[in-house]
Every structure is written in structure tokens, then in C-alpha cells.
Symmetry: C2
Subunit: 333 residues, 2 copies
């Protein structure tokens, strides 16, 4: 591992798919700060996470190209000449993947294959960093979950995200494409989609607490999750792009898993007030619930020196502040 993150990305042409979304926009801003020549691609599909405000203040430093990953010809062109491709575009709602499995397939499988084909044909040297997900593990058989845990997805989104990751591995092994995958766990922070509960419950809670509404907890609230602040996830993506060999897969994760009850209490404390209530799981959510989860990030720590730095308290505090200030860009009154 040689060279700093700054040295790696300065003046480099970088493409970020899903770059107006939550993680993509945070990454694009950081890359611009590092001196990279960043282009983001985003489809701005309504109801997904893309939001032009996510790049507010960076309009002159990041090139924004509105296009859909499913559009083969656009992607054929856009991948050319890039040194790094952060592949963050995706359909991320587990519920939507069950009600509309074909759209999930189009975005998380077909568009991924098209992107890899575009790179193979037009830019086989590009370093590709794919954002995978802990969802592929399904209900964990042991905790914390490391990368050898067998995949066992519980919903169509989990199946398709796993296929998307494996395409990246197959293109590495068969064609030598320089691909790496991070399996993200729950990520939160500024620019998270908070409009409704279709994607992440934490996003929905953030909106509710800022609006003074009661937080709803499904089940007894003792199910545990681990949370990474988006700045830590961005750091992991940058490290993987800079230093990981091709063909690798790394889990992210946090040092502690917290129950939803604990998380709600912390949010209410940091907000200086609020309420929560418990409700039975709606059946469509119960069917795809995974119980407790915590990721083991030992492999990426060992290989790339990554570990999460932002505490949940500090990160939630800063996130709440962001939405208090900018809420009108994330939901209608």
C-alpha cells in the first residue's frame, strides 16, 4: 500500500454512478475536494435517492450527467477515459424488489452487465469499485458476519445485488477487469433519502423526529443493526479504489450493533425530545426481515487499514443538524 488518498485521486478522471444519490454524492464531494475530475451519472428516477441538492455548492467542480445506467449507449461513452469508476447506482428498496421484481432486475443485474461490457470493450484498465450489500447474507447464522458467511438472500433485491457483485468477480477472473466489491451495512448521514420508509427505516425516523412525529418500531425493537456513517463508507470506497487488488470482497461494519430501541432512544435524546411506539411487523416486512445483524470488518481493516471513525452519537447529531437546516430539499411540507 503506497501513496496517500490525495496522491491517488488528484487530477484523476473519475466516474460515479448514482452520483446524485446518498453515498454517491458524498463520495463525489470528497473526490472533488481531493482534486479529482469527477463526473457523476444519475438517472434522477423519481422515488430513488438522486437529488440535485446533494451536490449543492459543488456544481462547478463536479460534472453532472443525467443518464440511466440501463441506457447502454450512454454508458458505452461515459466509461471511456476514466481511471476510477465508483459503481453506486442501484435499486435499494427491499420492499420494491418484491412488488416490482423486474425493475430491480433491470437496474441491479442488467445494467450492471451492460456497464461491465462497456468497460471491457472501451476501458478495460479502469478500476471499478462496486457497492454490494449485507443483504446478500440474509438472516445471519452467526454474528458478526464475515465474508465467508454463506449468501442466503431473503428477497429479490438480495438475489440481484449478489448477482451484480458476482458479475464483477466473473469479469475480473475471465477478462482481468480490475473490480472490487464492498458489502455495505446500514449507512446513514447527510443526504440520506428520508422522504418515506421505502428504503431505510433510519431515514424515515430522521424525517419523523425532525417533524415532531412519533417513531414507529416494528416488533419488540430488540433487533440489532450496525451503522456506518457515510464519511466512513466514503473512506472505505476511496481506500478500495486506491489500494485493493482486483477480485476482492470486503465487508464493512461497526464496532457495536445497537437495538432499534437503543437507536430510537438515542435519536430522541439528541433531538431534545420525541416519542416512539411499537407496532406489529406488517406481513410484507416480516417476510423479508433478517433479525440481528453485525458485520465483521476485519478483512478490510487488515488489507487496507480501514475502520469506522465516527461514533453513532456524533454521526446522528450531525445528521439531525443537517436535516433541521435543509429539510425542505428532502421532503415537502
Amino acid at each position: 500500500m503506497t501513496g496517500s488518498i490525495e496522491d491517488t485521486y488528484r487530477n484523476q478522471p473519475v466516474l460515479v454512478t448514482g452520483g446524485l444519490g446518498f453515498i454517491g454524492s458524498n463520495l463525489a464531494r470528497r473526490l472533488a475536494d481531493l482534486g479529482a475530475c469527477v463526473t457523476v451519472v444519475d438517472s434522477l428516477v423519481p422515488q430513488y435517492g438522486g437529488n440535485l441538492f446533494n451536490l449543492a455548492g459543488y456544481e462547478d467542480r463536479v460534472r453532472i450527467n443525467i443518464a440511466d445506467m440501463r441506457d447502454i449507449h450512454s454508458m458505452d461513452y461515459l466509461v471511456r477515459g476514466r481511471s476510477y469508476l465508483f459503481n453506486l447506482a442501484g435499486q435499494v428498496s427491499h420492499l420494491d424488489s418484491m412488488t416490482d421484481p423486474h425493475t430491480d432486475l433491470e437496474i441491479n443485474c442488467r445494467a450492471q452487465l451492460s456497464l461491465l461490457e462497456a468497460c471491457r470493450r472501451n476501458n478495460p484498465e479502469v478500476k471499478i469499485i462496486y457497492s454490494g450489500t449485507r443483504q446478500i447474507y440474509g438472516r445471519p447464522r452467526r454474528l458478526p458476519v464475515d465474508e465467508t458467511h454463506p449468501p442466503d438472500p431473503v428477497d429479490v433485491n438480495g438475489v440481484n445485488k449478489l448477482a451484480g457483485e458476482w458479475y464483477h468477480l466473473v469479469y475480473h477472473r475471465s477478462y482481468g477487469l480490475n473490480t472490487v466489491s464492498l458489502r455495505l451495512t446500514n449507512t446513514y448521514g447527510p443526504r440520506l433519502r428520508v422522504r418515506d420508509a421505502r428504503q431505510t427505516f433510519l431515514g424515515w425516523w430522521l424525517r419523523q423526529i425532525v417533524e415532531g412525529q412519533t417513531l414507529k418500531i416494528f416488533g419488540d425493537g430488540e433487533q440489532k443493526r450496525d451503522f456506518n456513517h457515510v464519511s466512513d463508507v466514503v473512506e472505505a470506497l476511496l481506500l478500495a479504489g486506491a489500494h485493493s487488488p482486483g477480485g476482492e470482497i470486503y465487508n464493512l461494519g461497526a464496532d457495536e450493533a445497537v437495538s432499534l430501541n437503543h437507536l430510537a432512544a438515542l435519536l430522541i435524546e439528541l433531538n431534545g425530545g420525541g416519542n416512539c411506539e411499537w407496532q406489529p411487523f406488517p406481513p410484507e416486512r416480516k417476510a423479508i426481515d433478517i433479525g440481528d445483524y453485525q458485520g465483521n470488518y476485519g478483512r478490510i481493516h487488515q488489507a487496507l487499514g480501514w475502520r469506522p471513525r465516527v461514533s453513532l452519537r456524533e454521526g446522528l447529531c450531525q445528521t439531525l443538524e443537517y436535516y433541521r437546516q435543509h429539510w425542505q430539499h428532502y421532503w415537502d411540507e
Copy 2:
């Protein structure tokens, strides 16, 4: 486990996708013999395995419906009222999945999702038997390979077949569809596609030896495979349909893995003459070769009493005889 195979299928409405193909047609014939009311669906895509001659003599006892699995409206209708659905349609060429990954995706992923959606909406009681593949395991880490071996596909076909299988599991867990998957290993026997080497090398060898051509072996020929005769595979499918609970996955496999050198020698012996020669692996085949493979069929033996009955010698002998007699229906002069 109660009731014989005969009792299970007699007078039952059964749908077989890919029913003009190799395994599908052998299954359809057996089902007709058992007194089932069989409909086969097949697209007759040129270059795939569908062949009307495969149902020769059964035209009055099996209803043939030409349609493509990708055709949602046809499938929506065709699944209705069936008690059993043997889902054998697929793109099976590993090489083709690399040169045309999108078609493989359409057939092995998109059409599978459409079929499951069609069943969920129109016939949620149907028992669905999916034909998976040992290809999902990639290069085995241990032999023989049981169902707990981690999936690690080496080509796009392996990724997509695994996704197809997982959709079946997800629809079982989330919607209660009664799905089961068999992971087939190398299957051979009458009605195998033998036109060229795009799908199975053994099919190609069968044609070559009947034509008096020299068999070509890639590499040193010491790579091992296990082979199931199609009548044994048909029996496994019938047992799984009759007796397996939903959500199960079973490997098939043979008692012995044999090297390609051994297989070639056996073919030449049974043919009463012939030659073989060794060639270096073409690079596009080397990239997706999996080394040795043998499946552990202990789980299906335990659960359903299945084991392979037809010896390789006996099966090859009968298969050679079939192609000597019917070759003109399987290749042009």
C-alpha cells in the same frame, strides 16, 4: 413419503418448460407413460436443445405449446390449473453466456422471475421443480461437493442460474410457493443436443464418434467429471415433485467421477473403434474451466431415496445406439 410415483402423477395436469429439450422431453415422455396430462412449453430457439423429434411417438399423448418463457402473457395463461410445473427451460451454454450475457440474463433470470410471478398470481398451489446446476459452485474447494459448498460461479451462466434458483427460494419463503431445486451435474443420454460443442463436450463427442471423427480433449484429459444418465435425472425430478417439501435444494451426482481420458477410452471401446487427440485449452474455455467435479448426492438419497441406477457403460452404450439410429434428426450431414 407416501404414494408411488404412479399414484402421484396419474391424470395430473403437468407443465414442463423446455419440454422439447433434452431433459424436458425425456421427462415428458415418462410423465405421459405414468398417465399424466402433460403440456410442454418450448421456444424452439435455434441453436438451443429444443427438437420436435424428441417427442416422436408421443405427439398424441403430450400437448406441445410453442412459446418463449420470456413471453409473460403466454406464461400467465399456461401456468393455470397445473398441479406440477417442471421448470427446465434455460440457456445452458457457458460460452454463450460470456459472449452474449444479456440473453443469458433474459432467459435464466428475467423469465424465471416472470414465471414465478405468473404462478404467484394465477396458481400459487402449483408444485414447482427447478433445474439448477453444479455450475454455481465454480471450481470446487472440496470433493465430492455437497449443498453446503459455497457458491462461487466462474461465468455469467453460473451467476444467473444461481439467481434463478434463489428466486425460487425467495418466493417459497415470502409467498409460500411450493418450490424445490435440483442441482444437476453432467447429464447425458438419448435426446442430448449433440450438434456442436457449444453446450456439452460429451454431446459433441457422441456425434464425432458416430461420424468416425477424432475426439478432441482439452488439456491433459485428467480433469474428472461425474455423469448422470437422463433416466436417473428424470427419476430425481419426479421424486422431488412428489415427495420433497418446499424450499429444498438437492445435488445430484454419480458414485464415481471419471477422467475425460477414461470417458474417451470407454466411448471408443463401446463404439468398437475411434481416436482421440489432446489439444491445449482454448483461452475462452480455460477462463471458465472448473477443474475436477463430483457431486455428493447424500441429501436427496436421505430425503427421497434417490440414487443413480444406470452405469456409465450401460448408459453410453444405449446412447450411442440411439444416435446411430436417429442421427439424422440431430445433425445435418
